[in-house]
Symmetry: D3
Subunit: 331 residues, 6 copies
């Protein structure tokens, strides 16, 4: 994210704005008089806006080398339309600064991807059970999977909409859940920390194949996602990794239970779980998953609300309007 330019959402009505942006989508339209114009989706790494560009067409833009996923220098004017900001493009050209790339304009989680990935690996290692050489720790199985699919794991979105629907969303969701699992094992000391942390790290791993996440962070269902769902695909993946060569085998019951954690993390049939939780770690994982999803939804709402304000409606996934308190927390 580029921090030395004004954000799209900070531009005032009536002002203009010139800065590099990412074109993530182009849609051609025809007005009532048959004249073409285009709607361009532009990203600055914090949010998306859709801007109108008149007297042009998708073909025109393509002739000027502007397609989806092109970094451009844009001149925009901000006006008001139906109580909201409306953006009009006056100029659009491939960015002069050739060092800029797509990743400079894509929304990412608030924690660095590498930091999160490394911290997950580190927590998994710390949680590894001591099997006194009779077995290879279950943490090792989780780490092998995360190592093999590191790239996808770090960039996949965690949802089409709802929560954590951004590039790196899967990682961010998994990261906070591993941390929460770790914290709760200190309270509920009879929980198997290794099992729960492996479950937290891998519970949504099947989403790597359930969604395809574009470079710009937008997720779409794959046919595998529709036919199988991420619970089955995640469980299948673990089964495929459950045999090791050259070292002690995994503890087979714990592998079974890890598969159960994946199959059971949606908690109830109403939410599409494959199995309902039969052990406390599976139940804990289910609540930690829900809690993290809901915390994300509140955080997203709080980004757009002022102090003392109510959201306009119940956000999708919540059952009440969101209220942002007037007071500030002293840290």
């Amino acid at each position: 994210m580029l921090t030395n330019y004004p954000k799209l959402t900070d531009a005032e009505i009536g002002s203009t704005l010139s800065r590099p942006l990412l074109v993530s989508a182009i849609e051609e339209n025809t007005d009532r008089n048959g004249k073409a114009f285009v709607k361009v989706t532009l990203k600055d790494g914090f949010s998306d806006v859709t801007a109108l560009m008149f007297a042009t067409s998708a073909a025109d833009l393509e002739a000027r080398l502007i397609k989806p996923n092109t970094v451009v220098d844009a001149d925009l004017a901000v006006s008001e339309y139906q109580g909201n900001k409306s953006y009009k493009v006056s100029n659009l050209a491939p960015a002069a600064d050739k060092l800029l790339s797509v990743s400079d304009f894509v929304k990412l989680p608030p924690v660095d991807l590498d930091v999160m990935y490394n911290e997950i690996i580190s927590m998994l290692n710390s949680a590894a059970n001591n099997y006194e050489n009779t077995h290879t720790p279950l943490s090792d199985l989780a780490i092998r999977i995360l190592t093999k699919y590191k790239d996808s794991y770090m960039t996949s979105s965690a949802a089409i909409s709802m929560h954590h629907n951004l590039r790196g969303g899967l990682l961010y969701h998994s990261y906070r859940m591993v941390k929460a699992s770790n914290a709760l094992c200190n309270v509920y000391t009879s929980l198997d920390r290794e099992l729960l942390l492996c479950g937290a790290a891998l519970h949504d791993i099947g989403k790597i194949w359930e969604y395809s996440t574009s470079e710009a962070g937008d997720a779409a269902f794959t046919s595998s996602g529709i036919l199988f769902g991420h619970l089955y695909m995640g469980a299948s993946l673990i089964k495929g990794f459950s045999h090791v060569k050259d070292t002690a085998p995994y503890h087979s019951e714990k592998v079974q239970l890890l598969i159960h954690l994946i199959l059971a993390h949606h908690g109830t049939q109403e939410w599409g779980t494959v199995a309902c939780p039969a052990i406390p770690e599976a139940m804990a994982l289910h609540y930690i998953d829900n809690l993290d999803a809901k915390m994300y939804m509140f955080e997203e709402q709080y980004e757009t609300l002022s102090a003392g304000e109510l959201s306009d409606k119940k956000p999708f996934g919540l059952e009440n309007r969101v209220y942002k308190p007037k007071y500030e927390l002293q840290s």
Copy 2:
């Protein structure tokens, strides 16, 4: 089933009965005065009754070589208790006829197990698609599985309670579903017959591991059943069989779709499906499964109702009382 003896359910109140029976369970009790008596579950291949035997104990019986799964010669008296028949055992001894075995006393489906198994294989073969040697038919995959697990497939129950909860219940349920699938493919001609028949034959194959069925036909959950469910286990099984040596490979998309059929056959999340049907064969399978289960429930009710009679209550799994018409069908 032995047909040359009076059935347990045919014995009149006030009569006595002497015949070979299977002891399937023994439970010791103590009356209010501290005297032991036992409740013996007896099977004649059509139904179960629980009979009281006074002035004895489980240890007594064991000393006389009578344990669960023993074939015995029994003398019973039938009286009335709370409007129902009550059975009292006066004599119980290991059966004189040593040729009798457990299988003579276990309830079985109305169609011969071998006939059903062979007919399934035969219908699968007939439905095999012509891949012109580029692929091995999907039917072959189903048949390989049914061949390997033939014994379990032929004897497993299809439920703890509900429907098809008898030895061979899984086979009977699968058999009628394969036949119904075959019949419906003639009406809905765009359905892929090979895919649907493989799905019908294998949809509940995971129940082999979800339940353990005793020799006497009683089913109990296994821990795998609780942790994974039969949808996941069935799908996993197919995945494990999806690679062949020495012949043309299976059509990989059809294998995927067969796995989808297994994962989707419960139809809706409310009924614990892993995926909801995304192709018409999956939807058809779901309805054929339900239809067969409900037909079984009605057949079971009709066995106990007289013409013109209503069931006492809504049977479990149905939403109304069952009515048996007064008229007889002319065949």
Copy 3:
């Protein structure tokens, strides 16, 4: 349907199209500048499109003898709007070919209406029970009803939206259900074929009064439909036909059960059934009804999807997106 003209849905973006079409609706609009234009709904017998016609008004068109249900010669240009095809009318005139009529442009089921009607009657006759002259077969009752209401039965839609919402939809739905019932009676041999086939043929007969279907195939609720529903109206109709003169009477219990089949075919209270199924024929009818409806929904989706494609969203009435496999069935 006219097959010697290009279909509306086959026209490429950027092309033009000239052919006879049916105007099924005209809606006048005013643009922001106060100029009138019209939206014209045009049918070619396969689908509907809504086309814009500028610089005209409904009154203009009427003056040129173009109203709803007029067959016209139309010149259309196809452009793109928001990723979809957009149609603009350049010329519209009453069709030169005076032999064309509304019915040439209305979507119909894939099987000929007369063929279906006759086949239903024939299957009902074949299923007639042999009452040895003590009673008139129940099939006769069904056939009397279908004879009396033949016109409505052949043209009524089976739904406002959802499934079989086209002219002849009721007939097509009933036809396939009678065939499926017939096929399943060979598997579930204790079902009363005459009863089930009569139920399949008549289950939605009340829709003749629940909806009014326009000549162009569009259905709308009637006030009777809202006040009574088609279950009650269908059952009432059968009651009204249950007495015959000059021949042996119907078997009165079977008439009662046929009424039950009509009242129970929605299966559960959740789906608005009047009674829940109390006999196996009623339960079978319920599943056959559902199965046929779902098969239609998949067929409709498959018409618009390419091989290997997912539907954009869950179609109304289904619980997952629809997937169209990549492979083709060999027939």
Copy 4:
């Protein structure tokens, strides 16, 4: 009801009781030692008790002319069993007072049956619309039905369990609903009083055929009840009465709406309504029906609770325990 004898429920533990009672059911049992004893259900017009009678059998009693529906002179001893009263019969003989009959021992509503019936007719007459001789009032249709089925209408129960499950329950339920409808028409003045009162009087008329009510007031489902339900049967009945000879016809739309009221009085599909209310009278009837049922449930609870007491559990049909206040209303 006989008021000059102590009530069954007033007898103290440890006391004995001698009085005439109705035997409504006899059930034979055998104790663990094989000795027969009987459970006799006895009614005093206020409640039922089940009493044990040792050293006898159903055959013994029958030989002494004691069968279900016999009025007897009984000697009972009241003891405690599991915190509740337990009744033992020491003597049982056909009642000496030959003037006593079954009806002296059957629970009836708190208002006289004839008074209620006559008041319903009178309110219907008062509500008759003035059609100025163009039509016969709808009230007349309702009164004709109530006249024809007067006996059944006055004695039928209104439920198997739940509410108003007593001889005359249908009448009592209808009576209070007609009164409540009348009262609410003064508040909601745009309601059609004639229509609503006819609906209130007839809404459950189909229960006459849905249940069979024994002379002792116990209701059981009939097969018609199971196959059709009382909504359909009630609506059908009205349809059958909707044509009159020798006088002006009924207002046909009002007859239709009255049928709608019957079909819609269960309000929502969840409660098995045939149609959902489409006019305000149908909605009002639905709420009045519910209100009356709930009031009955509270009244039943209050009969058994002391001031300041909570019910042991949530009564069936209510969603909370019932509390009986400590204070007394001053009247």
Copy 5:
């Protein structure tokens, strides 16, 4: 409401209209060519319309002293757009008649506010129990609250949407419920009239703080409404008033029960009740509340429907389309 001008809804398509109106909202828009225009919400005391005004802006209007809540003289032209009336403003100026005020243009209930308020107080007084000076009547508590919050109670809306969403809606809803409660106490004579009437008058009193109702009658949620809900706030209010000085205390159990009535009036958890009804008065209040809400919904529909017409769809809050009968009631 001004009755000497044509109503907005009575204006024919093609006509023009000049009359004083209330501007309740102004929204600025930009057309595709970047020209500003405004949408003005106008009220005449019976309904709202949104009219377009071209070639102007919110700033323009404000410069001419036209803002939300301004009474104006307006010239409107009525045309058709998509089958509905469309309104265009040609002239807008602050009203010449300076005696007109906002309240002349706001929709109010059909009964005068003062009449309703006084009648409620009067019914509460009549229902006051006779405590023979040991206690102050509960009615007094209700009247003290209504006296203190009279202004808010008389003007608050009773809903954001759904029912009684107009200035004075809370009062109108409460008024009819008090009347209905009074009427039903004559039928269900064991109900405590004082308690039920206090409950009816106060059940929604918490809505005064749950919503803020604008002078023009539009309601919006407050943050207290979102955080607490009106059930809790109403119960809390009563608790705050439950102690009196200088007179006999209230009957404390009745105060508790009144609080229960407030907490329980939503009936079931599904509808967000705090407690489920535990006494008959709470249950009665729940049904009376529902009945009144539904009656309002039907009345609103009937205002817009012609005789014999169906509503276009199921209105929000009802489960069927609404039918308005063809016949007229003779009064």
Copy 6:
């Protein structure tokens, strides 16, 4: 709990047991022959058993000074009945050791009550926000309440059945939730720790009045519990404490939000929440509450299961059978 005696649950079938126990309930019964015997509920501080004592009566026992809540010396014989242990009392006498008291025999949480109470106070103090003397911390409000109601808070059960239904259950539940809240605030750092911890400590405080907990730890509903529920009572309590004398006032918005946390902790209307969570702390509290309840249910199950065993059925409150793994955690 007395640890120097064999536990009731450890006694083998066939053995006898002599030890001090608490009689918590006595129920008199009569056998079929009219002989009295009693069922005595006995507690050893770990579990309850119901033992039969023949040839005696409640009056007999009372004459020997044995009533509910008497500590006794008991001689028991353990036999088998229907597969379970059955206990028969041969001797029962008031305990010789007069130092024993009820509390020695009551099941308590696994953590000392004082330790838990003090740790809650300490965590609340640590979480107190720094208001720089403008306000008194919210923690102070929570601590004032816990101080005033310390006795009840420490002894109340948290449920009738379900979870934490033991003496001290409310404290144990609150304690672990405060700890879990504290731990999760380190992961979700934008949560207001003071608010969340106050919510965790007080969320079920209303249960003190919702239930009455006997000295032996058994809970029963109070009428306040039925009429108001613990959410309302808890919120009301906080409101009553929200004003302080002699120090800076509480931060009023935080008091409001704390009340919201109490009203919202059941999460959804389905679970009887008064408000749905509108701030993240309310949502977090809801999940922490659920998580702790479920962890308790698993812990209870694990106490009765052997390694590798499944529970017999789905425990109430869980949606699957519980599985206890075979392996042991290495600590």
